[in-house]
């Protein structure tokens, strides 16, 4: 007994990890590396959300030599997926020990990172949920974590793709859906949820990597009498208020804080039944990673009535502000505002629109935008000088410490927004918006001022709607920015100036965040375009 007890405590010290010497296991040290090099161990490459790589084998002077190494097309039988058409790779693959792990809704793939050879494919048959996207897997030792669209949290063996267990984390009959990449932090797997067709509350969970059991749960809405409950008219509205947590967040190891964006309030566009700021919807929340307790919040869209989730990646970096080194968090929010906060306490440093907008009357003392009640959806239509889908969306932004610029693929546009449910207790969306003119623009924002240092409006014939899909951004120490247009071109820009240096016409437009890694001494660039993964190297 004594002996068994000793063994048990030994395994606890190691956090219950399987042997890290196993060829395919993820060394936990890789998860806390400052910037990704020979491993891409988590959705954003590291916990900061910067999507900046220190690699510079590929640089501004030789990027024109970049050429195709291999492609991998997801063949999932039948092509079109329920309600969404052809599959789009929106996940950012993990690259661990020479193997890429990536997803589309209902499917996980393991592919040789050198050659594109398929190793295994896990195929889930859903019973509902939205197939709008899947952001990828999380990894702990030899285990992978995947969210099926219908609320199943599934662990796989990385070697074989064999299922270890599954846990139900959300009810698809209540119109929850799960698209996130589970995020491994210490001995927690952080799992978020989506859903807004029926008015349900949002939440974020930490689950045990070994067993999948619940460790903590943070609810997006307060309970009666708790701080924040005063921002709701009644308990009924608060209990159904939304605030989904569908996009992976970021993490500061020193502060042990998770930073997560929350989604729109419910009902989505008909706000008459939930007058008030509706905390903690459309917010950035800082949560203690071990306890799940809220430490601070900043609400990007108080009382949102436009479906502008504030889930966009909260990007973490350190820089000087007024001559003093600060721990910062920056976000280009869907509502069109660029926010810079002090990530130790949530205090606002900068709030400035990065696209034209008329829905807000300015900012309040806390730096939060003040919504204009005169620009809420109306029965007869309300004209907005911003795209209906917002100024950007989930698509990964990037921050380069080399240039000090925050990069975002933005949408300029106009829309008209309607209220379609005038009842006292609206449900669901209760409204709609229609895009008029719009244009996609890559913007490089100065984090000190919010000024647009350079921008590139992608040339096109088409008017491009806001879109939930679209190109993410990667920056590298080679002074490069990789992104794409909506005509299928994967494009390398000079990160400092914005000139185009290279492009590759893919069969479909860039649909995920590009990534880069070093393998056998060579720097690879990986990009997902529709149903195909493309790998590039210098030849």
């Amino acid at each position: 007994m004594k002996f068994a007890g000793l063994l048990l405590s030994f395994s606890c010290l190691l956090g219950g990890l399987p042997s890290v010497s196993a060829a395919q296991a993820l060394d936990p040290q890789k998860l806390v590396q400052p910037e990704p090099t020979d491993t891409w161990p988590t959705y954003n490459g590291d916990y900061s959300g910067r999507r900046f790589s220190p690699l510079k084998q590929i640089h501004a002077s030789n990027v024109h030599e970049l050429s195709l190494a291999w492609t991998y097309r997801v063949a999932v039988g039948g092509g079109a997926m329920r309600g969404v058409g052809e599959p789009d790779i929106k996940s950012t693959p993990l690259m661990v020990n020479g193997i890429l792990y990536f997803t589309i809704p209902d499917h996980v793939f393991a592919v040789d990172a050198r050659t594109g050879l398929a190793l295994w494919h896990y195929d889930w048959v859903d019973k509902g949920g939205h197939l709008i996207g899947n952001r990828g897997v999380g990894m702990y030792g030899e285990w992978l974590y995947f969210l099926a669209p219908d609320g199943w949290f599934i662990s796989l063996e990385a070697k074989t793709g064999k299922e270890r267990w599954r846990k139900k984390v959300a009810d698809e009959k209540m119109q929850y859906f799960t698209t996130g990449a589970p995020m491994v932090v210490g001995n927690h797997v952080i799992v978020g949820v989506g859903g807004d067709a029926i008015d349900v509350p949002g939440y974020l969970e930490a689950r045990d990597p070994q067993t999948g059991e619940l460790q903590w749960r943070w609810d997006s809405e307060p309970k009666k009498g708790e701080p924040g409950s005063e921002t709701w008219p009644n308990e009924y509205a608060m209990a159904h208020g939304g605030g989904m947590t569908w996009l992976p967040g970021t993490y500061d190891k020193d502060l042990n804080l998770l930073y997560w964006g929350t989604g729109n309030a419910n009902p989505v566009m008909a706000g008459q039944g939930r007058k008030g700021a509706d905390l903690y919807t459309c917010s950035i929340v800082a949560i203690n990673a071990d306890t799940g307790k809220l430490v601070w919040y900043f609400q990007g869209s108080p009382h949102d009535t436009h479906d502008w989730d504030n889930t966009e990646t909260p990007v973490l970096f350190d820089a000087e502000v007024d001559g003093k080194p600060r721990k910062l968090l920056a976000q280009a929010a869907r509502n069109g505002y660029f926010f810079v906060l002090d990530r130790t306490n949530g205090k606002n440093i900068l709030s400035k629109p990065f696209v034209d907008l008329n829905w807000s009357k300015g900012i309040d003392a806390k730096g939060q935008p003040i919504p204009d009640p005169g620009r809420e959806p109306t029965v007869d239509g309300n004209l907005l000088t911003i795209n209906g889908g917002g100024g950007t969306n989930w698509i990964p932004p990037s921050y380069s410490p080399q240039t000090g610029l925050f990069y975002v693929n933005a949408v300029r546009g106009y829309s008209v927004t309607y209220l379609t449910d005038t009842s006292e207790h609206p449900e669901g969306y209760g409204g709609s918006n229609r895009d008029l003119w719009s244009q996609h623009v890559l913007e490089a924002l100065d984090h000190k001022t919010g000024e647009v240092r350079w921008s590139h409006a992608y040339l096109t014939v088409d008017g491009l709607g806001g879109g939930l899909g679209g190109p993410g951004i990667l920056t590298t120490a080679g002074d490069l920015l990789f992104s794409g247009d909506f005509n299928g071109n994967l494009i390398a820009f000079n990160a400092t100036k914005g000139d185009i240096l290279w492009h590759f016409p893919m069969l479909h437009s860039l649909s995920n965040g590009p990534e880069t890694y070093l393998l056998d001494g060579r720097q690879y660039l990986i990009a997902g375009g529709g149903d195909t993964l493309y790998a590039f190297i210098l030849n």
């Binding site: 159904h240 029965v379 008209v416 669901g428 623009v441 005509n487 000139d499 016409p505």
Partner: protein
């Protein structure tokens, strides 16, 4: 907001002479993967067909299951309102009793197998009386009514614009011929004749605000190549790397964009786009009210 101001020269690194791209016209059609993943309807469809196709594709996207049977639901509504509406509200969204649109009994039910017994037997522990006299057909109809209420709230593809005609038609007419200067290009007896009979008021409103997404027309392009020679035609493709067009004889041309090549795209909608910064909501509503009178 002008598209020309910030178009960076994609080939500047190769030359000191910038490529010139001049937008005189920019036609815009909606992206095929429309936002909110509610697939765009075919513009040639009638409004009714568009609504049906939007509702069907959105239902499929949401995983809401089958389309509720409208006839059964209508019968069910006749029973539900007087019998159940007192506690649950006539629209089933809750009163003294719970909101049934979010009820697991309703959402997990398919064809009355859960709702039927619940209504028939009641929930004595929760204060819901039993309704033992309902026939199995009636229980099925009540179930279908509830499924339809869920569909109407959750399936945003079924949402219909309410009354968008709230403005003053006289003021709209004055704006059309005055401040708005719409009559500079348009005539209510010419190109806009019978406009109000051709489309629904909400379609009409969105169309006059910015016609391109609903009525795409291929833009004209003129390309000036290095030797000063110009070619023009109907634009087929434009991105940061090449322009493609059909000339007057229908012959296809594609030209790689590089230094010294100038692309001019005719911009017929520039005034519509400029107006989007100028309209007040009242002017937009007045103009809508006027244009719908053009039967």
């Amino acid at each position: 907001m002008g598209p020309t101001a910030e178009n960076h020269n994609p080939h500047q690194h190769r030359s000191k002479t910038p490529l010139v791209i001049v937008f005189v016209f920019l036609a815009l059609v909606p992206v095929s993967r429309s936002q909110q993943a509610t697939p765009a309807a075919n513009p040639q469809d009638t409004t009714e067909q568009q609504e049906d196709s939007r509702a069907t594709s959105t239902r499929q996207f949401l995983g809401l299951g089958r389309l509720p049977d409208a006839r059964l639901a209508a019968e069910g509504g006749k029973i539900f309102a007087p019998t159940c509406g007192f506690c649950h509200g006539a629209d089933a969204r809750g009163a003294s009793g719970p909101d049934l649109l979010r009820s697991p009994v309703v959402l997990d039910d398919d064809q009355g197998e859960l709702i039927g017994p619940t209504v028939h037997d009641g929930r004595p522990g929760k204060g819901m009386p039993a309704f033992p006299s309902f026939t199995s057909e009636q229980l099925r109809e009540i179930a279908e009514y509830l499924h339809l209420q869920v569909e109407l709230a959750a399936n945003r593809g079924t949402y219909k614009a309410l009354n968008v005609v709230t403005g003053d038609a006289k003021a709209g007419e004055a704006y059309f011929n005055g401040t708005g200067k719409c009559n500079t290009c348009h005539s209510v007896t010419g190109d806009l004749a019978h406009l109000g009979a051709k489309m629904s008021p909400s379609d009409l409103q969105q169309t006059f605000l910015y016609p391109a997404p609903r009525h795409p027309s291929p833009p004209k392009v003129t390309v000036t190549v290095e030797d000063g020679k110009t070619m023009s035609g109907t634009l087929k493709h434009l991105d940061d790397f090449y322009v493609a067009f059909y000339d007057a004889d229908g012959a296809y041309h594609s030209i790689t964009l590089k230094k010294g090549i100038e692309v001019q795209v005719e911009d017929k909608l520039v005034f519509h786009r400029q107006m989007l910064d100028k309209y007040t909501n009242q002017q937009m509503h007045d103009l809508t009210a006027y244009l719908v009178t053009l039967k």
